[in-house]
Amino acid sequence: MNINVKYFGMIAEAAGKTEEVLELEGNPSLGELKDRQVKKYAIKDPQSVQLAVNQNLNTQVELQDGDEVAFLPPFAGG
């Protein structure tokens, strides 16, 4: 299935892009997708990173073909 992934903040910097389309084999869970990208881009402090599926944060849903998943780190600056 195809998943549209968006990256914010230092995650976008680690990935070198703000979005990409992933073609995924099988039916990975949201957690598996997170682990995969955390490893791929060496994303730091993954426990603090929140995922939004189709603009909904803090949800646990099964990924569907065409879903949009955003990787959101906390920001501190002001």
């Binding site: 730091k44 402090d45 603090s48 939004a52 909904n56 780190p73 920001f75 600056g77 002001g78």
Partner: protein, 339 residues
């Protein structure tokens, strides 16, 4: 009332709305890049009482974004200068300068004296502290945070809505402020102005208050995403049961009288939150040598003492820093609460 004519003309405000503003109070925590523009608009709008809380002093590198301060204010307390400038803008309102840091001990007492809390801070420790104290005192708070050219905005604890801990239950170790990453002055300017708008909406009871949602802006790309936040009643209940839950990212240094230079990279743990520690990661040292005082005794440390030893030698031999001392044994030997 005449001075408020242009906002009273709006149907959403009117004379009754203006009276609401005059009876209301707002506490601004951190009168920096976010807090300055927010304070200016809120003072202009006629908020009856504005608390300006900041324990920091104005420095030269603040001036490109902290719009209340001028060159002649360098070295003065931000809260005091902000109060003077804002009183000049509006003599009809009450302004309170609070020249102290927000702590677990003083947060609830201070919050209880205000209707709305505006977060102008630049670190996670204080954001969680604001969150918990707002849950305990029943106050809504308007949040903004910045990372370089990106920013987040939301309103937490508004009418039983989600809290900051619902959004980010686990904090990060990457406590990166604008001082470290760099920021265009306009970015906190835009966000602080958004925050002031949310405060006005909350007090006036108009429009859609940005609760349960997170706005994520990219100033360079001109993009804006709105994400919905789910409330997690369990984390809110935990705060009500336990009181303020300390975020212990930072540890303290034993000797507050010495000046330290931390050359570790920003992801290295534990972080130190003390004022007497200058943080310049090794990878950035070339660009920031000028920040290190040459005439002061400075203790340089890293994780184990090895990298800092090399840096001390390099800075002494090649750059003429004669008062640097290496901390043999690294960070564990100088902090109060080693892991």
């Amino acid at each position: 009332m005449m001075r408020y004519d242009r906002q009273i003309k709006l149907n959403e405000v009117g004379v009754s709305g203006q009276e609401k503003l005059q009876k209301s109070s707002v506490l601004i925590i951190g009168v920096g890049g976010l807090g300055c523009p927010a304070a200016q608009y809120l003072a202009g709008a006629g908020i009856g009482k504005i608390g300006l809380m900041d324990h920091d002093r104005v420095s030269l590198t603040n001036l490109h974004r902290q719009t209340l301060y001028g060159e002649d204010n360098i070295g003065e307390f931000k809260a005091k200068v902000a109060k003077e400038k804002l009183q000049h803008l509006n003599s009809e309102i009450e302004l309170v300068a609070i020249e102290e840091a927000l702590t677990i001990e003083n947060a609830e007492k201070i919050f209880s004296e205000y209707d709305v809390i505006l977060d102008g801070t630049d670190n996670f420790e204080t954001k969680y502290l604001i969150n918990d104290a707002c849950v305990l005192t029943g106050k809504p708070w308007v949040y903004a945070s910045i990372y370089k050219n990106e920013a987040q905005l939301s309103v937490f604890n508004y009418k039983e809505g989600p809290s900051y801990r619902c959004l980010f239950p686990k904090t990060t170790q990457q406590n990166i402020s604008c001082e470290v990453t760099g920021v265009l002055g306009v970015t906190p300017g835009i966000l602080g102005t958004f925050q002031a708008a949310e405060v006005l909406k909350i007090i006036l009871g108009i429009g859609n208050v940005f609760s349960g949602k997170l706005k994520v802006l990219n100033i360079l790309e001109g993009t804006e995403q709105v994400l919905t936040i789910q409330k997690n009643p369990a984390v809110i209940e935990k705060i009500r049961d336990q009181g303020i839950i300390p975020v212990t990212n930072n540890c303290r240094i034993k000797d507050e009288n010495k000046t330290y230079l931390d050359i570790r990279e920003i992801f290295e743990q534990p972080r130190i939150g003390s004022k007497n520690v200058l943080e310049i990661p090794m990878s950035d040292l070339d660009n920031r040598l000028w920040e290190i005082p040459k005439d002061e005794e400075i203790y340089v440390f890293c994780q184990s003492g090895k990298r800092s030893k090399k840096i001390v030698e390099l800075l002494r031999n090649d750059y003429g820093f004669e008062h640097l001392k290496n901390v043999d044994g690294g960070i564990e030997t100088i902090i109060l609460n080693p892991a």
